[in-house]
């Protein structure tokens, strides 16, 4: 696979504190278009915080986020959506009383990134929501809600997509299916960051992973190489995180 070399996203010594707790402690990494990057690490290592800062939910307390050459740290979420960043949530919160189709319509109408938004029917069809399009989102099961969340994000035609535990709770057949979808999106040039606990899934879809611990990067490279690193093994198997 040939990747473009100019990063679409450059995260530079990012710091985020909550009161006395430092969730991100100088995290740096980059992603290039068409790449699928995995963020892995034990609970509390700062993966979701990183996603939240990049997607504008939190302002960074230090360091910078550069997207397509512009500094975007601290920019409001809806503006980032317009610039081409979108994400899904670990626990999706769709607009429960609106229909599935209306959920996506809002994003189509308000989330215009520069790209050409996909046609809504094709999108619903592709993510297996066509049959329930007229039902309120509250009627969906949790896997369907995750797909709706993804569809909402894709409707804005992002060039950088952040997936926060999209695969958790899916069955093996669904996992294969969603892995193919994610790879297809990357093949069209979308940069994708995946936060996930399922190592098999991560290994299957990512080009590269960043292993995080205590808000810092402790390893960068292929997952297969990561699991041989003593420091990574220590973090995953040692201490209270042994599972």
């Amino acid at each position: 696979m040939s990747l473009e070399t100019t990063p679409i996203l450059d995260v530079n010594r990012l710091v985020k504190r909550f009161g006395g707790f430092t969730a991100l402690d100088g995290l740096s990494f980059h992603v290039v278009p068409g790449e699928i990057l995995g963020l892995v690490g034990p609970n509390g290592s700062g993966k979701t915080t990183a996603i939240n800062v990049i997607s504008g939910l939190y302002s960074p307390d230090g360091g910078g986020v550069i997207f397509e050459g512009r500094a975007v740290g601290g920019v409001a979420s809806h503006r980032l959506v317009h610039r081409g960043i979108n994400r899904t949530f670990q626990v999706p919160k769709p607009f429960m009383s609106l229909s599935v189709r209306e959920n996506v319509e809002v994003a189509l109408a308000y989330g215009r990134a520069d790209g050409v938004p996909p046609a809504i029917d094709a999108l619903l069809e592709e993510y297996r929501l066509a049959d329930v399009a007229k039902r309120p989102a509250a009627d969906l099961n949790s896997a369907q809600q995750k797909m709706l969340d993804l569809t909402r994000a894709l409707a804005t035609a992002p060039r950088l997509l952040l997936l926060d535990e999209l695969a958790a709770g899916l069955n093996p057949a669904e996992l294969d299916w969603i892995a193919d979808r994610i790879k297809a999106l990357a093949a069209k040039g979308m940069a994708i960051i995946v936060v996930e606990h399922l190592m098999g899934f991560i290994e299957h879809i990512t080009d590269r992973v960043i292993v995080m611990n205590a808000g810092k990067e402790i390893f960068e490279g292929k997952l297969a190489a990561a699991v041989k690193e003593p420091q990574v093994i220590e973090v995953f198997l040692g201490g209270e995180h042994a599972a």
Partner: protein, 306 residues
Amino acid sequence: MHNGFKHTLIILVPLLIVFAALPGVYQNHLLLFNFVIFLILAQGVNIIYGFTGYLPFGYVGFFGAGAYGFAVMVMHFQTPAVAAVLVAGLVGIALGLLLTPLLRLTGAYFAIANLAASLAVLHLVANPALENITKGPYGVSLTGTFNPSFAYDAALVVLAITLGGVIYLRNSSFGLALQAVREDAVSAAMAGVDVVKMRVIAWLASALVAGLAGGVYAWYVSVFYPDNVFSGEFSIFAIVFALFGGVATILGPIVGVIILYGIYNLIGFTTPQYFQLVYGLLIMGLVLFLPAGLMSLATRRGWHVP
């Protein structure tokens, strides 16, 4: 906007025709006027509560401020009534702007803070220290502009504007985005919606509606006291009527006003406490047994309610 046109044709136009014709055949014009006022206020509540999720316990604050905006213009500047009604709308917007920080609050905090704000405006207007401007607690008398039939027509115009606004919300992606914000602000932002801007627009729109209604009301009644136009009953009735019918629809608040306010007047309670008892019980029953309003009986069956 094909649906919007349809809704205008089947809801707005017939309603206006009926209320324009009724004064010719029905003698109690004050009652008809009150119907129109509550239709406006219930839709105003619909905009801010139904579409945005903020429960405006102090909604009457805008109404009263509008009425006093009208009165001050007429008393001190001899403004023609129509212009004074427009000023009343602006006063509503100005108060809304002043209160936009309240939108940072959620749920009960917003509701109570809004109630407190309306009471603060009441006590300000009714303060004897401001007698020179508002006539304080002694009330105003605006005999110069007294013209009930024009005021009634003006109320119909305000109703038309309000309903037009709600029809737009019901049929546009703007209204959809507002509801998205109501359901989950974070997800809405991730759909590209500017959450703060949307909330402020809806808030000011509903403030404008109530301000205009207050101005028209002042024009119609011409003599009133602070306690009349800041009466909590305006907020309560408007909220209950809207809830009873079903918010975030066009038809719900209309049906709510016609049924509940209709029953209220048919039974003709001579003592207000009996009505208070009935609507208190009604509110409780509504929350416990029909929390999404009458219209939900239809939507539960899969019917589309405009």
